[in-house]
């Protein structure tokens, strides 16, 4: 029954409702696929017993006619989401064997709607990275390889395990989080669909914090419709997160197939970078042509502060991270290194527990917030952020419904190609150049697979929407998916 893993979420929902197969059969098919794909290192913890017990429960509910929106659907959970009684580490040594005594709001809503948990997915340590190479569990393999090559490529990051597992048919969908591009960039690298909703759409409660004013949860799935189904369950107001917004969650799936006729799509000239690969340029124009053919109107727009988004991000995000990560002190949970006094206990624990990238960002964050530097760095970056957001507001005020851009400046690259001792960290950061603006402005953004490069690797397009207009992104994303088709990697693992 291994072909059950190749169904989309929407197809599986129908099969379960029609009793063509059970959730237990569907779950077992995925558990076998996970076992056979351990070389990808996408899962950092498999929870087969829990999965089977949740599947049996779902089957019992379905038999009684109580079909939740995700009843019996097996999912993977990024290891950044706290799962009650199941080890949650953010893929950092410093959390050690942390076993939460509570459940994150987003995952609790998935279980409320009947979903089944297969296990916890790999990610960059504390979601800091763009290649899933900073995880304490080691790198994740991308199911995609260059034509005729055996080189293992990165799946992108930080939600690399989520993207890899969804692309390799190990789960029907996955939770992910996005602070600077961590849903959309890995989605683009693996030919999956990833949406970062508007800031405030999903509760951050129970998600390991990186940069609180930028972090948002969202799904990675194999189709635009599947991602709409998942977001509907993940989103919603939560009194436990004061930044979560109290507005009703629409039925996102209803936006699929809705006409995009007359919509105004902005093409931002600042996203046309010097030295951008011709194939990215070509993909971008193709995407524009597809939307035009579907009746949308294309307009050139200007977002003048685009080039400042990434440098501003590398002040704001590390600053917030340095504050959020202060809690890892070796006292209340996680790793502890012995020491003679309390200060040494903190310092030794954090030196041992944080990886190189996390240490670098905590130190930069500490510096830009320190006395005498706060105004020059942090305050200035927050002012630049206001300007970046205003660029988008001006654009939307002119009637633009959504903005089309490439998702990434390149296709996936090899493990170790942009990391390691002598690598320039800034080189890795440039991966998020098209996605980070969206987090800075709190807007929704979706990455949809749109084609392949000359080496056979997937490339994605990004659509950026107005606040809380995710439905527009699903309608437009569906147009791209229909035109480009869906892409599945050849199995080598």
């Amino acid at each position: 029954m291994t072909d059950l893993t190749s169904l989309t979420l929407a197809e599986a929902r129908k099969g379960l409702a029609d009793k063509t197969f059970t959730s237990l059969e569907l779950t077992d098919a995925h558990l076998s696929a996970i076992e056979a794909a351990r070389v990808l290192n996408a899962f950092v913890l498999e929870t087969p017993d829990q999965a089977r017990s949740m599947a049996r429960e779902a089957d019992a509910r379905i038999a009684k006619g109580d079909v939740g929106p995700l009843a019996g659907i097996p999912l993977g959970i990024k290891d950044l989401f706290a799962t009650k009684g199941v080890r949650t580490t953010a893929c950092s040594k410093i959390l050690g064997n942390f076993v939460p005594t509570y459940e994150s709001t987003v995952t609790s809503q998935l279980w409320r709607d009947g979903a089944v948990m297969l296990g916890k997915l790999n990610n960059d340590e504390f979601a800091m990275g763009s290649a899933n190479e900073t995880s304490c569990f080691g790198p994740v393999g991308n199911p995609w390889r260059r034509d005729g090559s055996n080189t293992t490529l990165v799946p992108g990051g930080s939600s690399g395990g989520s993207a890899s597992a969804v692309a390799a048919l190990l789960c029907m969908g996955a939770t992910a989080t996005d602070t600077g591009g961590s849903i959309r960039q890995p989605a683009a690298f693996t030919a999956t669909v990833g949406i970062k909703p508007t800031y405030g759409r999903c509760s951050r409660w129970g998600i390991v914090a990186f940069a609180s004013s930028l972090d948002q949860a969202g799904p990675i799935a194999r189709s635009v419709r599947d991602s709409a189904m998942l977001l509907r369950s993940m989103a919603g107001h939560d009194p436990k997160d004061t930044t979560s917004v109290d507005i009703p969650v629409p039925d996102y799936e209803a936006a699929i197939g809705k006409s995009v006729k007359g919509m105004k799509i902005g093409i931002p000239k600042e996203y046309r970078l010097d030295g951008m690969p011709a194939e990215i340029e070509k993909l971008w124009s193709e995407g524009a042509a597809w939307l035009k053919a579907a009746g949308a109107e294309l307009v050139e727009v200007s977002l003048p502060h685009t080039k400042y988004a990434l440098p501003a991000y590398y002040i704001v995000a590390p600053a917030e991270a340095s504050s959020n990560l202060a809690r890892y002190d070796g006292v209340r949970y996680g790793l502890r290194e012995q020491a003679k006094n309390i200060i040494e206990l903190y310092e030794n624990t954090r030196a041992e527990g944080f990886g190189a990238e996390v240490r670098r960002r905590v130190m930069i964050g500490t510096y830009v917030l320190s006395a005498g530097y706060y105004d020059a760095y942090y305050l200035r970056a927050q002012k630049v952020r206001t300007l970046i957001k205003k660029d988008f507001e001006d654009c939307f005020a002119k009637g633009v419904n959504a903005i089309l851009t490439p998702a990434t400046p390149s296709a996936a690259f090899g493990i170790g190609e942009k990391s390691g001792e002598d690598a320039d960290p800034v080189e890795m950061y440039l991966n998020d150049i098209f996605t980070v603006t969206v987090n800075m402005a709190g807007l929704p953004g979706i990455a949809v697979p749109a084609g392949k490069d000359t080496q056979g690797l997937p490339l994605g397009l990004q659509l950026i929407g107005r606040p809380f207009e995710e439905e527009t992104l699903f309608s437009l994303g569906e147009v791209i998916e229909q035109a480009a088709g869906r892409f599945t990697p050849a199995r080598w693992w």
Binding site: T198, R332, I343, L345, R350, S370, R380, V384, G442
Partner: protein, 95 residues
């Protein structure tokens, strides 16, 4: 702006991360690469621009000022590396 070795040691201490002497030059290089990268922000005219405090314009909801949680001391200490009863254990702080 760039940082010298003494500043790297000071930041490490502020961040409560032990850094050995031989790690300092490498960290200094990395931090300076990042600072050089963000340097371009100084060319932006931010005169009269309000710093962003909330990306979504919304009134923050206030919670009722009532006790709605608690009596979970076992849960709180469940993951602690060293405890005694419901207390966290640390090296002696007060002489």
């Amino acid at each position: 702006m760039s940082v010298d070795a003494a500043t790297v040691r000071r930041i490490a201490h502020l961040a409560r991360i032990a850094v050995s002497e031989d790690e300092v030059p490498h960290l200094q290089g990395e931090l300076n690469a990042m600072l050089a990268f963000v340097e371009q922000l100084s060319e932006v005219n931010v005169e009269g621009v309000e710093p962003m405090t909330s990306v979504t314009p919304m009134q923050m909801k206030k919670r009722q000022d009532v006790v709605n949680d608690g009596e979970i001391a076992d849960d709180i200490v469940a993951n602690a590396p060293a405890t005694e009863g419901h207390f966290f254990l640390v090296p002696k702080v007060v002489e």
